[in-house]
Amino acid sequence: MHPGIIFFLVVLGSLLFHIFTPWYWTDIASNWVGMDDTITLTFWVGGGVFIAVCLFMVYCVVKFSYKKDRRAEYKPDDKKLEKILTVATTLGVAALLAPGLIIWNQFVTVPKNALEIDVMAWQWGWQYRLPGEDGKLGTTQIVNINDNNPFGINLDDPYGKDDVLIQSDLINLETNQPVKILLRSVDVLHNWYVPQFRAKMDAVPGIVTYYWFEPNKIGEYEVLCAEYCGVGHYAMRGGVEVQSTEDYNQWISEQETFNDYIAKQENIELENKKIAKNNNFLLNKETYKEE
């Protein structure tokens, strides 16, 4: 077979694969349709260029293959043609870049009504914190983290006490409510990624990073860590459930606040002390007996 034909089949096969592939976008469940649209646009422009270049190459290979008595054309350059191609390429690139930058502008501009969610990552898990009645998250510090303060909230920060703590890798979101994901990590890089929401961002120890999206499809989704974080990376999963407003309000009212948590911990501590005292007492008794 002429090599040109095989190359032609490769191009044709690529095109058919793209049209008939069963593997494509997981259905979108957020406001970032613009990202998908930009990708579709890039497919049209880029795919067109790929096919055009390859078909032209195939044509040349078939048409101008070696003949002993023929000479190639001698033409070192063609200023006009080069100019046309440069301008056309520049226009094509600009056509891709413009929508890209417009959507990026939306991506970096967080809506004012976005609900802030603190996503805390570690090797290897997630937990979440939502603002309480005051609508604000309390500030945090890694060195504050201990059994009594799993999120490291600054105890003298008045905004922190009513924060809603979700010590689980599952979180619920309200549909059509924009959320600003505030990411932090206590050890290494992580990345809170839900393919259906399209957006992602690294969690970096030492700083708080963010991104926003608006979930708009009720359902359950899997959270994946998308930045390599050591040997447990592939197992660092979580979950999101997008709910209707009523269901969401019901759910959030059942969650405990930092205040609840402190009270509970104090109770437990008290209990523990009692138990320990008791144990000590029993232990002493036993030791006494044995002696």
Binding site: C60, R71, W104, W122, I142, L183, Y228, G230
Partner: protein, 616 residues
């Protein structure tokens, strides 16, 4: 001092005219003015001639031998990288058959595969291998300007490889931090090889950079200072332009990697906190604080992005020459090609943060880096147009060399287009850290440059060994490799659309990745076939060395100087008695009126008076 030179060397000895360059009146010969070439500015260099086996073949100062040494050692590490990729594909496609492999192993294989292929295979092969062999021959020099330094360069690379491979045998094994080596995880427990492994990796990289600097100085200064008479910069083959520009990039980019590796080693060993913020690990706050993990990423990608072009630019240059020779046509738009190489090289220092759109750096950087990244597509596209316009109305020999070039065009355009996806910041957000990225960079900086390397091997083997590689075996090798590699990476993009993240040891049964299982098996099988197909080349080389068809002088009817040495393969000193004198660019193919369809660079204008040469 006499400025009279005889131009009758080697291949040109059939020429009946005696030509000297004494155009300024003092010469004895009758020289047409058109043939005048400026006299040499500096005397010829003295070369050290090896006498024993060790000085000739081991600690050798001949750039050609050093080039072959680089080539063989880089290929050896490349084969290790290939085997590691097989193990990874085994785990991804057939996890039940890879029961011996733990997640630790997998991440170690991923890391070592990446680092080996990018640095120790591709960079060493293009610059150390092709650079050493071709630069002195193509610019008409007897050797590199600093032969001793050149030898030390190779042996530093050798030690770097030994240290790298030694990390397989230390406690904890090699580092499993991913080839990007991002701290803090690279040096914390929780990542395999976070002790000795990462330490040896950093040491090995530092040795590599030191060795590379010695070689790089040689390539740059040889091109700038040791070109033969008449070899102006704008008469250099594009191969030399590509390697030369890539060397400059490497000299500016590698220091960023060097300091990054050094600072991380200090964090690791001495407990400094360049890249280490306050960290809570297993309930305890570590003794670090105030460092920035993102700083490392900036340093790494300030190296890492130019690194892509350090690999790509030599490939661009080489493929231009191969296409031109085998299409029997001048490269289209030579001047544009040179400026595109230089332009891409310059721009490549202003795009690094497109690897970091979702790294947590200030998101406003996205606007700047998306713009610069897409601008770099313009000169790159021009190069592609010029390659296919070189084929247009050519007289194309469809031999194995040309097949590799065509394979390069297809894979490079494919990988370049997916670069437009990832460079355009918005589109990168859903696709980054997925299999789309893996497919993209393997296509554009793995497979495409590999196609060029293979084409170059088939093209220059007759020069290096004096015999042709077998065409029939070569065609099998090409089609298995090209079709196989394409069917690995083309469908892989679609895994990225599904959302499958990269660097996952196991997918479990995520609802949207179960459909990918079939594709993963297919890709793995293709990967096994492509890897095994490389045995054809090894067999072909061994067979050719024994019974291959002798090539003789200038077997491809090329124009550039490396084919015009008095002996094939070229000997130490390259040119025998007299250095060649250059009268034209290397792309005078199919010139109207000329007897043959090629005019070598050393042919003086007076010998081809009947022809309509447009460009010299």
């Amino acid at each position: 001092m006499s400025d009279e030179y005889e131009n009758k060397t080697g291949y040109q000895a059939q020429s009946s005219e005696t030509i000297s360059s004494g155009g300024r009146g003092g010469g004895s010969g009758t020289v047409p003015d058109a043939d005048h070439v400026r006299p040499a500015e500096i005397p010829e260099q003295d070369l050290y001639h090896g006498h024993s086996f060790i000085t000739k073949w081991v600690f050798c100062q001949d750039a050609k031998v050093i080039g072959v040494q680089y080539f063989l050692l880089a290929t050896f590490t490349g084969i290790i990288g290939l085997i590691l990729s097989w193990l990874m594909r085994l785990q991804l496609g057939f996890p039940e058959a890879a029961g011996f492999m733990t997640a630790e192993h997998y991440y170690q294989f991923v890391t070592m595969h990446g680092m080996i292929m990018v640095v120790y295979f591709l960079t060493a092969l293009f610059l150390g291998g092709f650079g050493n062999y071709l630069i002195p021959l193509m610019v008409g020099s007897r050797d590199m300007v600093f032969p001793y330094l050149n030898m030390v360069s190779f042996w530093s690379f050798f030690v770097a490889v030994v240290v790298l491979l030694a990390s397989f045998f230390v406690p904890g094994g090699p580092t499993g931090a991913g080839w990007t080596l991002y701290p803090p995880q690279a040096i914390l427990e929780g990542t395999p090889g976070s002790g000795m492994g990462i330490l040896l990796m950093c040491i090995s990289l530092i040795l590599f950079v030191a060795g590379f600097t010695m070689g790089g100085l040689n390539y740059m200064i040889t091109v700038l200072q040791a070109r033969t008479r008449g070899m102006t910069l704008m008469r250099m083959p594009l191969t030399v332009w590509g390697i030369f520009t890539a060397t400059i990039l490497a000299m500016l980019a590698f220091p960023a990697l060097l300091v990054g590796g050094l600072m991380m080693t200090l964090d690791n060993v001495l407990g400094t906190s360049f890249f280490m913020p306050t960290i809570l690990k297993a309930g305890e706050v570590l003794e670090y604080g105030g460092g920035s993990p993102i700083l490392f990423q900036h340093l790494f990608w300030f190296f890492g992005h130019p690194e892509v072009y350090i690999v790509a630019l030599p490939a661009f240059g080489i493929v231009s020459d191969l296409i031109s020779v085998h299409a029997r046509k001048n490269i289209f738009g030579y001047r544009m090609m040179v400026w595109a190489i230089v332009g891409i090289g310059g721009l490549s220092f202003f795009v690094w943060a497109h690897h970091m759109y979702v790294s947590g750096m200030n998101p406003w950087f996205g606007f700047f880096f998306a713009t610069t990244t897409l601008i770099i597509a313009i000169p790159t596209a021009m190069k592609v147009y010029n390659w296919i316009l070189t084929l247009w109305r050519g007289n194309i020999r469809l031999n194995v060399v040309m097949l590799w070039c065509l394979g390069f065009i297809v894979t490079f355009v494919n990988g370049g287009i997916t670069g437009l996806f990832l460079g355009n910041v918005t589109v990168d957000v859903p696709l980054s850290d997925t299999y789309f990225v893996i497919a993209h960079f393997h296509m554009v900086m793995g497979i495409a440059p590999l196609m060029v390397i293979m084409g170059a091997v088939y093209h220059w083997f007759p020069l290096v060994a004096g015999r042709f590689l077998d065409e029939k075996l070569g065609k099998w090798h090409f089609w298995l490799t090209f079709l196989g590699a394409y069917s690995i990476y083309f469908p892989m993009h679609y895994l990225g659309f599904i959302g499958v993240p990269r660097r996952y040891f196991e997918m479990y049964d995520s609802p949207y990745v179960t459909s990918a299982v079939g594709m993963n098996e297919f890709i793995s099988v293709a990967a096994f076939i492509v890897g095994a197909a490389q045995l054809i080349l090894i067999y072909n080389i061994i067979r050719t060395l024994k019974i291959g068809k002798p090539a003789g002088h200038n077997p491809w009817q090329a124009n550039s100087l490396e084919w015009l040495t008095p002996s094939v393969p070229p000997e130490h000193g390259n040119w025998g008695e007299k250095l060649p004198v250059v009268h034209r660019w290397p792309y005078d193919f199919s010139v109207p009126g000329a007897k043959e369809d090629f005019i070598t660079q050393t042919t003086p204008p007076s010998e081809v008076t009947e022809t309509e040469v447009e460009k010299t």
